[in-house]
Amino acid sequence: MSPRKLLALFALALPALAHGQAQPIRIGAFLSVTGPAAFLGDPEQKTLELYVEKLNAAGGVLGRKLELFAYDSAGDAEKARGYVKRLIEQDKVDLLVGGSTTGETMAAVPLAEAAGVPFISLAGAVVIVEPVKKWVFKTPHTDRMACEKVFVDMRARGVTKAALISGAGGFDRSMRAECLKVAPAYGVQIAADETYGAGDTDMTAQLAKIKATPGVQAVLNAGFGQGPAIVTKNYRQLGIAVPLYQSHGVASKQYVSLAGDAAEGVRLPAAALLVAETLPDADPQKKVVTAYKRDYESRFKQEVSTFGGHAYDGLMLAVEAMRRAGSTDKGKVRDALEATRGYVGTGGVVNMSDKDHMGLDLSAFRMLEVRKGDWTLVK
């Protein structure tokens, strides 16, 4: 072939090459960075930014750079809807990650379904993936799983009658409803069901009522934020002797430092990320969680959070799926996501299927207990 022809061919191919090189993969994110769920969205955003950076530094995905479009929906479902519209229509993203709270996720679901954009949710409620929706996946454990894990542990301690106390938020109410539903199947009777409001400063009235309920052998507090910390302190103040369980909503050092000594002996289900160092070397998750913990903590100088871990899993699952699909075609990526098998994340080992768009089972949750201000694994 003459040099001229070669050059001409190259010139023709160049735009295609340049197009392929220059066109970044667009990841759309809508997170509750401010607002009442800020402790969800803030680590999530930091995690996404950190790993998009790392992935790009390592050459990107499929030879293309990743571009992150992140918006702050502040825990507001309406705002989330607006931003998802913006991400889909204006920013033209290839994939959505986000929806820190269930309300925000559910507001975005119809949009993702209608537009055919794969959406990996970072919110907790089981309703996100049940019934299964074609384009919607999620990384965090469901609230139902948290209830189940707690009830299994309660039964192991001989508890058959328990009390429930929860807050007014979406997470609290959803977990409470799930616990009430599944308790009988695990042989636990819920004898008292109390609630407190957002911003309440004192729960002694509700706990006094629980204390006076005959036969209660354990108490489960479904909530997040400062409510559970106040509940824990009030619990000790009233001298309630039976075991206290918290939810994965407070699986963070912040809860332990807020509740102080009162948190001693409290148990909760959480991802292995919280006890990364103490995991046995043979544990399948050890490598992933210690690496994430090290990267996050050294960059942001703050304690790693399970919520950030969910964002890590979401991004990595997406990237994995794109690599397996060999493209960013939304349909192919969706199919690849559904075919995820044996992916080891911070939340657990993920095995998705067409019936299961979360992919975690009960073993992904570890039961932890607070001892001397730190987490220990309950065997």
Partner: protein, 288 residues
């Protein structure tokens, strides 16, 4: 059990009372409902947490944060309320709403979005009172609130500035004609109100922690308490605060904890329908 409910009610009621006092104070001086009042509570809590975490001894942290909040209150008056002094009252209310949004935004920038705790002033060992228990911090809350109310009453009856504030609240024009500087009165009212709010924030954070948005709910409840008690008097603010706290605790204990706030607001609305000037209010403004 009722003793525990009563104690719980008085604890939250005392906090509501302090916040309500702040509302009443500013309202009486300027007829403005200061929707940023809750943010003063937040500043008190967050600033003391930040100072304490930075290494200052607790008393110094507390005093500095109250002083800081007072400054913010005076600035709010000088920069936002005074320039708009001739505007309709509704406009002034919107300005304070804007200020509350601004202050919350600033809080996330100056501090952070996390929840902070401040150590209890005298330990956490619960005190038994019959069948109920009480945290020592609650005694601080009750004691300091009572002292604050007493001080305020003395301030309004015995000091010139206090009497000037009363005069302005009765009749602004007449007060001006008597040589009282309305501007100074407003500034003092805002500053004092901010100090009260910050005090509430400092007292309650050992019990209920503090964060950038802790002011929204407390401000709302404090406002409700102020109206319930009757905006015209400080006794009313205290009565309204305690009443609200007790209604909530008793409602949670005896009726349904899920609906305790609904009962509280229903009772407030019903009370207002029968006593439009609140529990202790009287037609015209009488005392602050």
């Amino acid at each position: 059990m009722i003793e525990q409910y009563l104690l719980s009610g008085i604890t939250t009621g005392a906090i509501y009372a302090l916040v309500a006092l702040g509302f009443a104070l500013i309202y009486n001086a300027s007829h403005v409902i200061n929707f940023a009042q809750g943010e003063f509570v937040m500043i008190g809590g967050m600033a003391s947490a930040a100072f304490f975490e930075a290494g200052l001894p607790l008393p110094a942290a507390i005093l500095l944060s109250i002083a800081g909040a007072t400054l913010v209150g005076v600035l709010l008056d000088k920069l936002a309320v005074e320039p708009a002094r001739d505007a309709p009252v509704v406009t002034l209310i919107i300005i304070t709403i804007g200020a509350s949004i601004l202050l919350r935004g600033l809080a996330t920038l100056v501090w952070d979005k996390k929840i902070h705790r401040v150590p209890a002033f005298s330990g956490e060992a619960p005190i038994a009172l019959g069948t109920a228990t009480l945290l020592p911090q609650v005694l601080w809350v009750l004691g300091v609130s009572a002292a604050a109310v007493a001080l305020l009453t003395w301030f309004f009856r015995r000091t010139l500035t206090g009497k000037a504030i009363l005069a302005v609240s009765h009749n602004r024009l007449a007060a001006r004609l008597m040589g009282i500087s309305v501007r100074r009165v407003l500034a003092v009212s805002f500053g004092l109100s901010a100090a009260l709010g910050a005090l509430a924030g400092v007292l309650v954070s050992p019990i209920a922690f503090t964060s950038w948005d802790v002011g929204v709910m407390l401000g709302l409840k404090g406002f409700a308490a102020a109206i319930l008690g009757g905006l015209g008097s400080s006794a009313g603010a205290v009565a309204g605060g305690l009443a609200l706290g007790l209604i909530e605790a008793l409602g949670a204990g005896y009726l349904s904890s899920a609906y305790k706030d609904v009962f509280a607001f229903l009772i407030i609305v019903a009370a207002l329908v029968f006593l439009p000037n609140g529990l202790l209010g009287r037609g015209a403004t009488e005392r602050v």
